[in-house]
Amino acid sequence: MINIEFKGILAKRLGEKWNLQVSSVLEIFQAIEANNGEVNNLFADLQNFCTHFIVFVNGKIMPPHLLNSKILKNNSEVKIVPVVQGGGISVVLFIIGLAFSALSMILAKSMSPKSPKDVSTSSAVLGQVRNVVNRNIVVPLGYGRMRVGSAVVSNNIFATYDGRLYGNDQNEESFMKKTLDENFDTIFDEFEIQAGWLRGLTYS
Protein backbone atom coordinates (compact mmCIF):
# COMPACT_ATOMS: atom_id res chain seq x y z
CA MET A 1 0.00 0.00 0.00
CA ILE A 2 1.08 3.56 -0.62
CA ASN A 3 0.82 6.09 2.20
CA ILE A 4 -0.51 9.39 0.93
CA GLU A 5 -0.71 12.61 2.85
CA PHE A 6 -2.34 15.84 1.74
CA LYS A 7 -1.90 19.25 3.30
CA GLY A 8 -3.77 22.51 2.99
CA ILE A 9 -6.95 22.69 1.00
CA LEU A 10 -6.48 19.19 -0.41
CA ALA A 11 -6.46 17.75 3.12
CA LYS A 12 -9.62 19.65 3.91
CA ARG A 13 -11.45 18.58 0.78
CA LEU A 14 -10.12 15.07 0.15
CA GLY A 15 -9.03 13.95 3.61
CA GLU A 16 -5.57 14.17 5.09
CA LYS A 17 -4.34 10.58 4.92
CA TRP A 18 -4.97 7.75 2.51
CA ASN A 19 -3.62 4.24 2.01
CA LEU A 20 -4.09 3.15 -1.57
CA GLN A 21 -2.81 0.42 -3.85
CA VAL A 22 -1.63 2.62 -6.69
CA SER A 23 1.46 2.83 -8.82
CA SER A 24 1.53 6.45 -9.96
CA VAL A 25 0.59 9.85 -8.57
CA LEU A 26 -2.13 10.21 -11.16
CA GLU A 27 -3.68 6.96 -9.96
CA ILE A 28 -3.94 8.46 -6.48
CA PHE A 29 -6.43 10.98 -7.78
CA GLN A 30 -8.26 8.40 -9.84
CA ALA A 31 -8.57 6.11 -6.80
CA ILE A 32 -9.82 8.92 -4.58
CA GLU A 33 -12.30 9.97 -7.23
CA ALA A 34 -13.54 6.36 -7.33
CA ASN A 35 -13.97 6.41 -3.55
CA ASN A 36 -15.60 9.73 -2.84
CA GLY A 37 -16.16 11.59 -6.09
CA GLU A 38 -14.50 14.69 -4.69
CA VAL A 39 -11.69 15.04 -7.23
CA ASN A 40 -13.99 15.87 -10.08
CA ASN A 41 -15.70 18.42 -7.85
CA LEU A 42 -12.30 19.94 -7.22
CA PHE A 43 -11.28 19.63 -10.80
CA ALA A 44 -12.27 23.13 -11.79
CA ASP A 45 -10.05 24.36 -8.99
CA LEU A 46 -7.23 22.03 -9.97
CA GLN A 47 -6.80 24.09 -13.10
CA ASN A 48 -5.74 26.86 -10.74
CA PHE A 49 -3.81 24.54 -8.48
CA CYS A 50 -1.10 24.06 -11.05
CA THR A 51 1.15 26.69 -9.53
CA HIS A 52 0.44 26.07 -5.87
CA PHE A 53 1.41 22.50 -5.00
CA ILE A 54 4.47 20.28 -4.81
CA VAL A 55 4.56 16.49 -4.77
CA PHE A 56 7.07 14.67 -2.57
CA VAL A 57 7.76 10.98 -3.07
CA ASN A 58 9.77 9.45 -0.24
CA GLY A 59 10.90 12.92 0.80
CA LYS A 60 12.12 13.99 -2.63
CA ILE A 61 10.41 16.45 -4.94
CA MET A 62 8.89 14.60 -7.84
CA PRO A 63 9.44 16.15 -11.28
CA PRO A 64 6.18 16.86 -13.11
CA HIS A 65 6.94 14.55 -16.01
CA LEU A 66 6.74 11.53 -13.68
CA LEU A 67 3.13 12.14 -12.67
CA ASN A 68 1.82 9.29 -14.78
CA SER A 69 4.85 7.04 -14.35
CA LYS A 70 4.69 3.88 -12.27
CA ILE A 71 7.27 5.00 -9.75
CA LEU A 72 5.46 4.14 -6.52
CA LYS A 73 6.62 1.00 -4.73
CA ASN A 74 5.03 -0.75 -1.78
CA ASN A 75 5.20 1.46 1.34
CA SER A 76 6.20 4.53 -0.66
CA GLU A 77 5.25 7.78 1.01
CA VAL A 78 3.64 10.50 -1.08
CA LYS A 79 3.09 13.96 0.30
CA ILE A 80 1.27 16.65 -1.66
CA VAL A 81 1.68 20.05 -0.06
CA PRO A 82 0.74 23.58 -1.03
CA VAL A 83 3.46 26.15 -1.54
CA VAL A 84 3.37 28.62 1.32
CA GLN A 85 3.97 31.94 -0.36
CA GLY A 86 2.64 35.46 -0.61
CA GLY A 87 3.75 38.99 -1.19
CA GLY A 88 3.20 42.64 -0.62
CA ILE A 89 2.38 43.43 -4.20
CA SER A 90 -0.31 41.74 -6.14
CA VAL A 91 1.63 41.06 -9.30
CA VAL A 92 2.78 37.47 -9.54
CA LEU A 93 6.38 37.42 -10.64
CA PHE A 94 7.50 34.03 -9.53
CA ILE A 95 5.86 30.66 -9.80
CA ILE A 96 7.28 27.60 -8.12
CA GLY A 97 4.72 24.84 -8.03
CA LEU A 98 4.93 23.34 -11.46
CA ALA A 99 4.03 19.82 -10.49
CA PHE A 100 0.35 20.18 -11.10
CA SER A 101 0.56 21.88 -14.44
CA ALA A 102 1.05 18.55 -16.12
CA LEU A 103 -1.35 16.88 -13.74
CA SER A 104 -4.23 19.14 -14.61
CA MET A 105 -3.77 18.34 -18.26
CA ILE A 106 -3.46 14.61 -17.65
CA LEU A 107 -6.48 14.61 -15.37
CA ALA A 108 -8.53 16.47 -17.92
CA LYS A 109 -7.71 13.83 -20.47
CA SER A 110 -7.83 10.70 -18.39
CA MET A 111 -10.91 11.46 -16.34
CA SER A 112 -13.05 12.30 -19.30
CA PRO A 113 -14.54 8.96 -20.36
CA LYS A 114 -14.57 8.21 -24.03
CA SER A 115 -18.00 8.28 -25.56
CA PRO A 116 -19.12 4.72 -26.19
CA LYS A 117 -20.27 3.95 -29.67
CA ASP A 118 -24.02 3.49 -29.80
CA VAL A 119 -25.25 0.47 -31.67
CA SER A 120 -28.72 -0.76 -32.35
CA THR A 121 -29.26 -4.33 -31.22
CA SER A 122 -31.97 -6.91 -31.00
CA SER A 123 -30.37 -8.75 -28.12
CA ALA A 124 -32.92 -10.42 -25.88
CA VAL A 125 -30.40 -10.68 -23.11
CA LEU A 126 -30.41 -7.00 -22.34
CA GLY A 127 -34.05 -6.37 -23.24
CA GLN A 128 -35.06 -2.92 -24.29
CA VAL A 129 -32.11 -1.18 -22.81
CA ARG A 130 -29.93 0.45 -25.39
CA ASN A 131 -26.61 -1.32 -25.71
CA VAL A 132 -23.29 0.35 -26.04
CA VAL A 133 -20.22 -1.34 -27.36
CA ASN A 134 -16.56 -0.54 -27.49
CA ARG A 135 -14.01 -3.28 -28.03
CA ASN A 136 -11.01 -3.74 -25.78
CA ILE A 137 -11.91 -0.97 -23.41
CA VAL A 138 -10.71 -0.93 -19.83
CA VAL A 139 -13.23 -2.46 -17.45
CA PRO A 140 -12.96 -1.05 -13.92
CA LEU A 141 -12.46 -3.55 -11.12
CA GLY A 142 -14.62 -2.05 -8.43
CA TYR A 143 -14.42 -2.34 -4.71
CA GLY A 144 -16.44 -0.68 -2.00
CA ARG A 145 -19.92 0.69 -2.60
CA MET A 146 -20.62 2.01 -6.03
CA ARG A 147 -23.20 2.59 -8.65
CA VAL A 148 -22.37 0.93 -11.97
CA GLY A 149 -23.73 1.11 -15.43
CA SER A 150 -23.09 1.03 -19.11
CA ALA A 151 -19.81 -0.57 -20.21
CA VAL A 152 -19.10 -3.04 -17.42
CA VAL A 153 -17.92 -5.98 -19.50
CA SER A 154 -15.33 -6.12 -22.25
CA ASN A 155 -14.92 -9.25 -24.36
CA ASN A 156 -13.27 -10.29 -27.55
CA ILE A 157 -13.55 -13.58 -29.44
CA PHE A 158 -10.81 -14.88 -31.67
CA ALA A 159 -9.82 -18.31 -32.99
CA THR A 160 -6.28 -19.59 -33.30
CA TYR A 161 -4.75 -22.84 -34.36
CA ASP A 162 -1.61 -23.99 -32.59
CA GLY A 163 -0.76 -26.90 -34.91
CA ARG A 164 -0.49 -29.53 -32.18
CA LEU A 165 -3.83 -31.27 -32.17
CA TYR A 166 -4.37 -33.26 -35.36
CA GLY A 167 -2.96 -36.76 -35.79
CA ASN A 168 -1.12 -38.47 -38.65
CA ASP A 169 -4.31 -39.35 -40.46
CA GLN A 170 -5.66 -35.82 -40.41
CA ASN A 171 -4.46 -32.69 -42.03
CA GLU A 172 -5.06 -29.23 -40.69
CA GLU A 173 -8.12 -28.64 -42.79
CA SER A 174 -9.89 -31.83 -41.77
CA PHE A 175 -9.06 -31.29 -38.12
CA MET A 176 -10.52 -27.82 -38.14
CA LYS A 177 -13.66 -29.06 -39.87
CA LYS A 178 -14.09 -31.86 -37.31
CA THR A 179 -13.53 -29.49 -34.41
CA LEU A 180 -16.04 -27.03 -35.71
CA ASP A 181 -18.56 -29.80 -36.36
CA GLU A 182 -18.33 -30.93 -32.77
CA ASN A 183 -18.24 -27.58 -31.10
CA PHE A 184 -19.87 -25.07 -33.35
CA ASP A 185 -23.28 -24.98 -31.73
CA THR A 186 -21.86 -25.05 -28.23
CA ILE A 187 -19.41 -22.27 -28.87
CA PHE A 188 -21.61 -19.88 -30.70
CA ASP A 189 -25.03 -20.59 -29.26
CA GLU A 190 -23.75 -19.58 -25.85
CA PHE A 191 -23.10 -16.12 -27.17
CA GLU A 192 -26.32 -16.05 -29.19
CA ILE A 193 -24.48 -15.07 -32.26
CA GLN A 194 -26.30 -15.56 -35.50
CA ALA A 195 -23.43 -17.09 -37.37
CA GLY A 196 -25.11 -18.79 -40.28
CA TRP A 197 -22.98 -16.86 -42.69
CA LEU A 198 -19.89 -18.17 -40.91
CA ARG A 199 -21.20 -21.75 -41.00
CA GLY A 200 -21.76 -21.45 -44.72
CA LEU A 201 -18.28 -20.20 -45.36
CA THR A 202 -16.73 -22.87 -43.22
CA TYR A 203 -18.45 -25.80 -44.93
CA SER A 204 -18.37 -24.69 -48.50
Binding site: K7, G8, I9, A11, K12, F49, H52, F53, I54, F56, V81, P82, V83, V84, Q85, G86, G87, G88, I89, S90, V91, V92, L93, F94, I96
Partner: protein, 112 residues
Protein backbone atom coordinates in the same frame (compact mmCIF):
# COMPACT_ATOMS: atom_id res chain seq x y z
CA UNK B 1 -10.41 40.24 9.38
CA UNK B 2 -9.07 41.81 12.57
CA UNK B 3 -6.91 44.89 12.32
CA UNK B 4 -7.34 46.32 15.79
CA UNK B 5 -4.20 45.83 17.87
CA UNK B 6 -6.14 45.38 21.11
CA UNK B 7 -8.49 42.81 19.65
CA UNK B 8 -5.53 40.77 18.51
CA UNK B 9 -4.61 40.26 22.15
CA UNK B 10 -7.41 37.72 22.28
CA UNK B 11 -5.34 35.52 20.02
CA UNK B 12 -1.72 36.57 20.60
CA UNK B 13 0.22 37.83 23.61
CA UNK B 14 1.49 41.39 23.47
CA UNK B 15 5.08 40.18 23.89
CA UNK B 16 4.76 38.07 20.78
CA UNK B 17 3.27 40.91 18.73
CA UNK B 18 6.01 43.28 19.95
CA UNK B 19 8.65 40.75 18.99
CA UNK B 20 7.16 40.31 15.51
CA UNK B 21 6.95 44.07 15.08
CA UNK B 22 10.58 44.49 16.13
CA UNK B 23 11.79 41.86 13.65
CA UNK B 24 9.71 43.34 10.84
CA UNK B 25 10.79 46.94 11.35
CA UNK B 26 14.44 45.96 11.26
CA UNK B 27 14.27 44.13 7.94
CA UNK B 28 14.10 45.26 4.35
CA UNK B 29 12.97 41.79 3.32
CA UNK B 30 9.69 40.15 4.20
CA UNK B 31 9.88 38.21 7.45
CA UNK B 32 8.00 34.92 7.47
CA UNK B 33 7.37 32.00 9.77
CA UNK B 34 4.80 30.22 11.86
CA UNK B 35 3.21 31.02 15.21
CA UNK B 36 2.39 27.84 17.12
CA UNK B 37 0.82 28.10 20.56
CA UNK B 38 2.15 31.62 21.01
CA UNK B 39 5.69 30.85 19.91
CA UNK B 40 7.14 32.25 16.67
CA UNK B 41 9.25 29.94 14.50
CA UNK B 42 10.96 32.11 11.92
CA UNK B 43 11.63 30.48 8.54
CA UNK B 44 14.01 31.45 5.78
CA UNK B 45 12.39 33.51 3.05
CA UNK B 46 13.48 31.62 -0.07
CA UNK B 47 11.84 33.89 -2.61
CA UNK B 48 14.30 35.44 -5.10
CA UNK B 49 12.58 38.81 -4.62
CA UNK B 50 12.56 38.89 -0.82
CA UNK B 51 11.68 42.57 -0.56
CA UNK B 52 8.31 42.08 -2.21
CA UNK B 53 7.45 38.42 -1.65
CA UNK B 54 7.97 35.54 0.70
CA UNK B 55 8.25 31.82 0.05
CA UNK B 56 8.79 29.09 2.63
CA UNK B 57 10.29 25.78 1.60
CA UNK B 58 7.68 23.03 1.78
CA UNK B 59 10.13 21.05 3.90
CA UNK B 60 10.15 23.83 6.51
CA UNK B 61 6.39 24.19 6.71
CA UNK B 62 4.35 23.47 9.80
CA UNK B 63 0.74 22.30 9.61
CA UNK B 64 -2.13 22.04 12.02
CA UNK B 65 -5.21 23.78 13.31
CA UNK B 66 -3.24 25.87 15.80
CA UNK B 67 -0.63 27.00 13.28
CA UNK B 68 -0.74 30.62 12.13
CA UNK B 69 1.34 31.87 9.25
CA UNK B 70 3.04 35.21 9.86
CA UNK B 71 4.70 37.49 7.37
CA UNK B 72 5.54 41.16 7.17
CA UNK B 73 5.24 43.86 4.56
CA UNK B 74 8.40 46.00 4.71
CA UNK B 75 8.33 49.78 4.82
CA UNK B 76 8.41 50.34 1.07
CA UNK B 77 5.14 48.45 0.60
CA UNK B 78 2.41 51.02 0.89
CA UNK B 79 -0.49 48.65 0.49
CA UNK B 80 -2.73 48.31 3.51
CA UNK B 81 -3.97 44.92 4.57
CA UNK B 82 -3.29 41.60 2.83
CA UNK B 83 -2.53 41.67 -0.85
CA UNK B 84 -4.71 39.68 -3.19
CA UNK B 85 -1.75 37.36 -3.76
CA UNK B 86 -1.62 36.68 0.00
CA UNK B 87 -5.31 35.82 0.06
CA UNK B 88 -5.15 33.72 -3.08
CA UNK B 89 -2.45 31.58 -1.54
CA UNK B 90 -4.18 31.37 1.82
CA UNK B 91 -6.97 29.45 0.13
CA UNK B 92 -4.47 26.77 -0.92
CA UNK B 93 -2.37 26.44 2.24
CA UNK B 94 -5.48 26.88 4.38
CA UNK B 95 -3.85 28.40 7.48
CA UNK B 96 -4.82 31.41 9.57
CA UNK B 97 -2.65 34.34 8.54
CA UNK B 98 -1.11 37.22 10.50
CA UNK B 99 0.51 40.21 8.83
CA UNK B 100 2.43 43.21 10.08
CA UNK B 101 2.67 46.20 7.80
CA UNK B 102 5.68 48.34 8.70
CA UNK B 103 4.53 51.30 6.65
CA UNK B 104 1.12 51.41 8.31
CA UNK B 105 2.28 50.13 11.72
CA UNK B 106 -0.64 47.73 11.85
CA UNK B 107 -1.26 44.05 12.34
CA UNK B 108 -3.85 42.25 10.24
CA UNK B 109 -5.24 38.85 11.09
CA UNK B 110 -7.27 36.72 8.74
CA UNK B 111 -8.82 33.72 10.45
CA UNK B 112 -10.31 31.00 8.29
Amino acid sequence: MITNYQNLNRFFKKELLDSLKFKSVGSKAEICGFVVNGVFFEKINRHPDKENFFLISPKDCLWGDSVVLFHSHPKHIKEKNFSSWDLTNQYYFNLDMLLYSVNNDEFYFNKL
